[in-house]
């Protein structure tokens, strides 16, 4: 079904393309979110990636590779955004801004969510992308490696390193709980 949608989209069918995006976007959005750390920025990245994918769709030779292809475009866009982002957005994901929103119960874990997002800033963009793809998009490590264009062994070692740094940034002092 997805293949047919890709083929139709390549021929200019915008409805088919929108369905493709709607199918793939949620998981990719979560990976992008890890890279740019701001829902607002992540949504802009996804929008840019969508436009770019539509524009370049005819360069996609293998219809079956659509999800990975779109994912790479989005992650690349997120890298670009993160590079220009600096620290100006960090305030948007602070404890106060998240916990203070109406309708959210501070006891429901949002404090921890905010702490995680703040901790992400201490990681390199590449590590955030790797973690986002693995735990946001829920991809298997080989797929993460493919998405980032790095060897599988490198992905594994970076995964350990990135998780260690994230844990340290979150205040987990390696004491078994």
């Amino acid at each position: 079904m997805e293949r047919e949608l890709v083929l139709a989209a390549r021929l200019g069918d915008e409805v088919a393309f929108a369905r493709l995006i709607e199918s793939e976007a949620p998981r990719t959005y979560r990976a992008v979110l890890a890279v740019v750390r701001s829902p607002e920025d992540a949504q802009e990245v996804m929008q840019d990636a969508t436009i770019r994918a539509w524009r370049q769709l005819r360069s996609l030779r293998d219809a079956d590779s659509w999800p990975a292809w779109f994912r790479r475009i989005a992650v690349r866009q997120a890298f670009d955004r993160a590079g220009h982002q600096g620290r100006i957005r960090l305030h948007e994901i602070t404890l106060d801004s998240v916990e203070g929103e109406a309708g959210r119960d501070p006891s429901s874990g949002w404090a921890e969510r905010a702490a995680v997002m703040s901790a992400l800033q201490l990681l390199a963009t590449e590590d955030r992308a790797l973690l986002g793809l693995r735990f946001g998009a829920d991809l298997a490590v080989p797929d993460v490696a493919a998405a980032l264009g790095i060897p599988l062994g490198t992905a594994k070692s970076r995964l350990h390193r990135a998780l260690g740094r994230l844990a340290a940034a979150m205040g987990d002092d390696d004491v078994r709980r």
Partner: protein, 425 residues
């Protein structure tokens, strides 16, 4: 758990769990919603109406489209024509005329087809080639200029699988469909035509697409006139399995089609000449040798499709197939300039092609794995046949004056790492 999944420590697992929950929760609270307007043209487009309008209205519009195509086609069918001086393009597969005022602006990496016009054009290859390939084209048609690109369709439904023709009109030798008008990403508004190969349907792999980008009605008329002169060099079903022994261009023992040439033993039989294998859009220039060979491609009349060739090279015989991919890999701009062998002056990379050994020769200025390179597949069960095939590769030459593919991806090629000398002892 897969062996490719690293085992996490408790601490890593805690961090991973927290991160996963965080990303999922935030994404659920502030989800991304597709903004269709972002990639929908501000004006009604033919590609849009197909998916949104009732069938009856869409059909009516298709009739209008066909009629419009016929109107635009009429002046090209002998009633009139462009008075401006014309140049002639002919690559052995197809030919057309174009205004002498147009220049060759570059060469596309996906198929090596030229880009014509009066504007500026270059292939972007921006950023990480593994991310987006070389699909980003940077075009400037300001001041009433024009850029005309063309490419061979790939990734579409397999050739030789019959599809119903979409709205189309005969135009000269070709059937032409005005595929789309996209005014979102090209402010000047490109017009795109799909020209199907003989025996093909629209939407198939292997068809040629031509796109004109201009806001100048006169130049758009020139582009239409160019399209109207288009004709394929050969008629017939490209998916037809070649059976009759053809005559190759050149002389006995020397192949020369004006673009590429090579020598082969005069005792070899010509098993097949120039034809296309539809499924993968492979152009086969010649199949030669002393063994027997049967194409794995069936004609569309028999269902179409291509499987592996049937080859018998027992008793020291050899079969050589000279071919080229029209639909190269997406990542055509990755650095692939590392030969694994050299025959005569020709550096090659080796791989397998079914049960054959395959060596690839680069198109001028191209890197390995690019479209337009030439592959020589060799079936042989002995060193003698292999040596003959390697001698053929050693004799391989590109014709002088072919447009170079160099520079298409220059901006992303990474320089060779510096040579590291011996360290302090």
């Amino acid at each position: 758990m897969s062996g490719d999944e690293p085992i996490l420590t408790d601490r890593e697992e805690r961090a991973a769990t927290a991160l996963r929950a965080t990303l999922h929760d935030i994404a659920a609270a502030e989800p991304f919603r597709v903004d269709r307007e972002a990639f929908t043209a501000p004006v009604a487009r033919k590609g849009t109406v197909r998916g949104r309008l009732p069938v009856g209205l869409a059909a009516a519009l298709a009739v209008v489209l066909v009629a419009a195509m016929a109107v635009f086609a009429a002046p090209r069918l002998g009633i009139g024509g462009p008075a401006a001086p014309q140049e002639h393009f002919d690559n052995g597969q197809f030919a057309f005329d174009y205004p002498a005022t147009w220049q060759t602006l570059g060469i596309r990496s996906d198929g090596g087809l030229p880009v014509f016009g009066t504007g500026s054009w270059r292939l972007g290859c921006q950023g990480d080639p593994s991310a987006t390939g070389c699909g980003e084209e940077i075009t400037d048609v300001s001041g009433g200029r024009i850029v005309v690109t063309m490419w061979v369709n790939s990734g579409a439904p397999a050739a030789c699988v019959k599809n119903d023709a979409l709205g189309a009109a005969p135009l000269g030798d070709a059937w032409i469909r005005n595929a789309a008008e996209d005014r979102v990403f090209y402010p000047a508004g490109p017009t795109t035509w799909e020209i199907r190969r003989p025996g093909y349907d629209f939407g198939m792999n292997g068809n040629l697409w031509i796109q004109a980008v201009t806001d100048n009605p006169a130049e758009l008329a020139n582009a239409k006139a160019m399209v109207a002169t288009f004709h394929w060099e050969a008629a017939g079903d490209y998916c037809h399995s070649p059976t009759a022994a053809p005559t190759l261009p050149g002389t006995a023992g020397h192949f020369d089609n004006g673009q590429l040439s090579f020598d082969y033993p005069t005792g070899w039989r010509v098993l097949a000449g120039d034809y296309y294998e539809g499924m993968a859009v492979v152009q086969v220039y010649a199949v030669l040798g002393t063994g027997s060979w049967q194409s794995g491609c069936r004609s569309s009349a028999n269902g179409g499709g291509c499987t592996g060739d049937t080859v018998d090279v027992s008793s020291g015989r050899v079969v050589v197939k000279i071919w080229s991919r029209v639909d190269g890999p997406v990542n055509a701009c990755m650095g692939n300039d590392h030969a694994t062998a050299t025959f005569g002056p020709n550096a090659v990379i080796g791989s397998t092609y079914g049960s054959a050994v395959d060596w690839q020769i680069r198109y001028p200025g191209a890197e390995f794995q690019w479209e337009g390179n030439i592959d020589v597949a060799v079936w042989s069960d002995g060193p003698a046949g292999l040596a003959q095939a390697q001698a053929l590769i050693a004799s391989f030459r590109w014709a002088a004056g072919l447009p170079s593919a160099a520079g298409n991806c220059a901006q992303i090629d990474t320089p060779a790492p510096p040579t590291v000398g011996p360290g302090p002892t």
